[in-house]
Amino acid sequence: MMETVAIPPFETLYLEHRDEVFGFLVRRLGRDRAEDAFQETFLRALRGYARLRHGEHLRAWLYTIAARVAVDEHRRRRSPEAPREEAVRDSRPEYAELEHLADGLPAKERAAVVLRYGYDLSYADIGMALGSSEEAARQAASSGVRRLRQRRIEIS
């Protein structure tokens, strides 16, 4: 058995990843909107931090939060003009659905699947989130999808 990785002090995690997470948000949202999203990302991370049970894949976890904040920010921007019906029809966003579906996957595959198909991240960004190469991210996502398909067949 592998030993569980201890959860580091938040300061350590923050110092290590703040610049790349900010860079990611700037690419998704542009510089102006990235600033608010940056603060929101790390505040959400703090809110969830006490519930973490181990310190593995924290970087991917942070990217998932950042990606979600970016999606929310896009929706928020669109919503003033968008009619309400749309919100009713589509009450549960796709990414939430996918996160639920992907729950049983190994952590790395789960992150890759969710970031790719839930948040539409590039494999380069996913590689960064997972601390691995673009190619490894591609492989993690595709083996995650394979596993999901298999499970579907077993269920049905």
């Binding site: 959860i7 580091p8 002090p9 938040f10 300061e11 350590t12 923050y14 703040r18 610049d19 790349e20 900010f22 860079g23 700037v26 600033e35 940056f38 603060q39 790390f42 505040l43 703090l46 809110r47 931090y49 006490a50 973490l52």
Partner: protein, 191 residues
């Protein structure tokens, strides 16, 4: 891409303002060297002479929870009282301290220690007696050595029964400097 200092500060202030931290800490200068100061939601929980905060973060996280973040604002009152103390303008602290996670004996020793007045000295044995274990002078010595909140919990005022300074986790020079500041060390041993 680098996060600007403004954005960084804004996040750190917001994290504290929203009550999301187990521990907020900062590093400040003092006449006895840089000090790491940390507060939990219950009060001041750490003063360390260790100028490399990273070494303290792990231990703070283990003791109080992993949401440890440098955030100056919650430390404002602590810094102000320490500045006044070092300027000779304050003789006692009005700060809440968080020593709840210590053992009961450890706590009662530190509570007795907090009553030792500015400018006076006590001994390890006397402190042990006040905490209800007359013969535990050595244990009290250990507790002083591991005092999580030196200066505010004034372990520098505790000396050996012969009046010798004995020791100080922050180094004897600092113990001397604090006692000199308080006027209780008449002979300057460094000369």
């Amino acid at each position: 891409m680098t996060v600007s200092p403004q954005l960084d500060n804004r996040f750190r202030a917001a994290a504290a303002a929203e009550g999301l931290l187990d521990v907020a800490y900062d590093v400040t200068d003092s006449p006895v060297g840089p000090l790491l100061l940390a507060v939990s939601e219950r009060g001041l929980c750490r003063i360390s002479y260790d100028a490399e905060p990273e070494r303290q973060l792990e231990s703070l996280a283990r003791t109080f929870g992993a949401r440890v973040l440098r955030s100056p604002r919650p430390l404002g009152e602590v810094k102000r009282e320490l500045d006044e103390y070092f300027a000779g303008a304050r003789r006692s602290f009005d700060l809440r301290v968080d020593i709840e996670r210590l053992t009961p004996f450890n706590r009662s020793v530190l509570e007795e220690l907090a009553r030792v007045p500015y400018g006076s000295l006590t001994t390890y044995g006397a402190l042990a007696g006040q905490a209800g274990r007359r013969r535990a002078a050595r244990a009290v010595g250990m507790i002083m050595n591991r005092n999580p909140i030196p200066i505010v919990l004034p372990c520098h005022r505790v000396v050996g029964s012969t009046g010798s300074l004995v020791g100080y986790a922050g180094g004897l020079e600092r113990k001397e400097a604090l006692l000199r500041l308080e006027g209780s060390l008449l002979v300057d041993r460094s000369e």
